[in-house]
């Protein structure tokens, strides 16, 4: 059923794209419409094979993986791109997009496809992604005029630090580039998705690359859809080069290039920071442990229902035991964890025993593994769950299979060697009152 919908939606998207191209009156499109159309069609084949899991069947950035990723995958229908060499508000050039697809976006789930896909495949899939937004039919990219690069120097880095202060970069990135004393480091982008201010001491996470020219371009062009502005109106070209050289100078070595003592110091620092900021540590653990994967309802295209992250209600059939809806983990007092004590939450996470004393199966809720979490990490998870805004979603109790069904299922499992899959059902089994 999922499969069918998937295909038909993709087909509609492609059809719409082709119609869009046929109607487009741009000179460069009109010149070779057949070529563009066939390239777009080829690109769609590449897209369907490699891109839908994150970017979704219709390119809206809402594939099955999307809701769990930070930053979220690009919504191609918006025509807004962060990594560009074009003026603020302009669409990117083809080369910008080819670069992002080829090299990937560091610090995100987007891999570099160079070496996996051929160069022509990459060009085709870029053409397809462009066809999803009408902007590429009606606008031309305005490439920024690059001044001569300023090589890094000790004086330039000092000047760059002054630019960093003048432009108030510390408000989001902190006085040290790591968020220290920042006003805020967590934001929402134009699609209301969560976003972190980049840690400037970790250049391997800079989405568009960490060479001075890459960093300079982010200041020059801004990052569309995010709070990161362009500084073209408030800083000179030389200022932005100095700032780029300063930001590059903030970079530290990654753990894979560090010596023994540095590794020990880094791990100790990370542990201390985790302890000092349990909510942040807990948020990161909840993300990496994948709690939201089961404790949020999805639609038939595996898109998380909006506003329902961690609100439970996803139905799992675990043969031969029965049907189990996942619990509401938000801080809602009536339907979520709001009335659970810390110890009750921790007992569920580490021993699989609910507030009312019911024991959970040892899978798929992996409480046995979670029991190996350190006490600090458990406290961090509880602290984070307490901070999740309450969503009212009353989840029904599980339905255990009847005795004969259970025994027959066990017979098939133990004697006939049947290995039944866990089945996920789309939709929310709970009764939701929305966000409180």
């Amino acid at each position: 059923m999922l499969h069918v919908r998937y295909r038909s939606l993709a087909g509609i998207a492609a059809g719409a794209a082709l119609v869009g191209i046929a109607l487009a009156s741009g000179a460069h499109l009109a010149a070779q419409p057949a070529d563009v159309a066939s390239q777009t069609a080829r690109g769609k084949t590449v897209y369907d094979a490699h891109c839908v899991e994150c970017h979704g069947a219709n390119g809206k950035g809402d594939g099955p993986a999307a809701a769990l990723l930070t930053p979220r995958p690009r919504d191609f229908t918006s025509g807004k791109y962060k990594i560009r060499s074009t003026e603020t508000g302009s669409i990117p050039t083809d080369d910008d997009l080819i670069r992002s697809v080829s090299q990937g976006l560091y610090g995100s789930a987007m891999p570099g496809w160079k070496g996996i896909l051929s160069e022509s495949d990459i060009r085709d899939v870029v053409a397809y992604a462009k066809s999803l937004s009408a902007r590429f039919g009606s606008e031309t990219p305005k490439t920024v005029a690059l001044g001569p690069p300023i090589e890094t120097s000790p004086e330039g880095v000092v000047r760059g630090q002054r630019v960093y202060e003048k432009l108030q970069c510390a408000a989001c990135h902190g006085i040290d580039g790591r968020g220290t004393k920042a006003i805020a480091t967590e934001f929402w982008d134009d699609w209301k998705q969560p976003l972190h201010a980049t840690d400037l001491t970790e250049p391997w996470t800079f989405h568009g690359g960490a060479a001075p020219r890459d960093v300079y371009l982010r200041f020059r062009t801004g990052m569309a859809g995010t709070p990161m502005p362009s500084f073209v109106d408030v800083a000179s070209d030389a200022d932005m080069w100095d700032l780029a050289n300063y930001v590059v100078s903030l970079g530290r070595k990654p753990i894979w290039s560090m010596d023994g003592p540095d590794v020990a110091a880094l791990l100790a620092r990370q542990d201390a920071e985790a302890k000092a900021n349990p909510v942040k540590r807990g948020a990161s653990l909840v993300d990496t442990l994948g709690c939201a994967l089961c404790h949020s309802p999805y639609d038939a295209q595996q898109r998380m229902l909006p506003g329902m992250r961690l609100a439970g209600g996803l139905l799992l059939r675990i043969a031969p035991f029965g049907d189990f809806p996942t619990g509401n983990l938000t801080s809602d007092k009536e339907t979520g964890l709001g009335n659970w004590t810390d110890d009750e939450i921790k007992r569920t996470i580490t021993r699989g025993i609910l507030k009312d004393g019911t024991r959970l199966l040892p899978y798929p809720m992996d409480w046995a593994s979670f029991s190996n979490l350190t006490p600090d990490d458990l406290n961090a998870i509880v602290a984070y769950l307490r901070s999740v805004p309450p969503v009212s979603n009353k989840v029904p109790p599980p339905r255990w299979a009847s005795f004969p069904v259970y025994m027959w299922g066990k017979f098939k499992f133990l004697i006939l060697g049947d290995d039944p899959p866990i089945v996920f059902f789309p939709g929310n089994t709970g009764t939701t009152g929305g966000r409180r």
Partner: protein, 208 residues
């Protein structure tokens, strides 16, 4: 004498039947085993890093071990023995078959075996699966088979630590089947909306 034998046979048969039913009912003994035992078994199954001589390598592998154990890799990447998962073949794969809309996946061998395990893959290739779900041939493993989007939220340094630890595991030669492309329609019950709507009123609820 004969009657006695006959009675004894009946008793034995009844006992055997009860034993068989009890076996069906209680095995695997999920609710008889104390909950602490599950976590203890899993924690102890993961090889220690104490035998790594280099202090730097050991510190990083220890971080990786913590992530591997707490994130439950062995939940899927275990190898089935005759009595449930064979934890001595830690992370040698094969223990889970996931049927998804895009095909059938069997959990892979994560030990550093040179023919069947991760010794065939570079660090970057392993990290790319954990970051993007993308295999060297370009296919993307569906979220319902391997929840890689969760592991994508690890920092790059944590992901590196996981790879360092996986490289330290005891190599186990165990060829696991390649993915079989498939179709959701062939999976009975999968994404059964009619069932969900009928029994649970799924879909009727609205989200504000």
């Amino acid at each position: 004498m004969k009657r006695l034998l006959k009675r004894a046979a009946i008793v034995v048969l009844v006992l055997a039947a009860c034993g068989f039913l009890a076996f069906l009912y209680f095995i695997p003994p999920f609710f008889i085993t104390p909950p602490e035992q599950f976590g203890k078994d899993m924690g102890e199954a993961a090889p220690s890093v104490a035998d790594i001589r280099d202090a730097r390598e050991r510190a990083i592998a220890e971080r990786g071990r913590y992530l591997v154990v707490t994130h439950g890799c062995e939940g899927c990447h275990a190898t089935n023995g005759s009595q449930g998962p064979d934890l001595t073949k830690y992370l040698a794969g094969g223990g889970l078959k996931a049927q998804t809309a895009n095909g059938t996946y069997v959990s892979r061998n994560l030990t550093p075996d040179k023919d069947t395990g991760l010794a065939r893959r570079t660090d970057e290739e392993v990290k790319r699966v954990l970051r993007s779900g993308t295999f060297p041939d370009g296919h993307v493993v569906p979220m319902t088979a391997m929840p890689w989007a969760s592991f994508s939220n690890w920092t790059e340094e944590d992901r590196y630590a996981v790879v360092v630890y996986l490289r330290h595991l005891k190599p186990v030669r165990h060829q696991t089947p390649e993915p079989v492309p498939g179709n959701a329609l062939t999976i009975p019950g999968a994404f059964d909306q009619d069932y969900a709507a009928k029994d649970y009123g799924v879909g009727a609820a609205t989200v504000k």
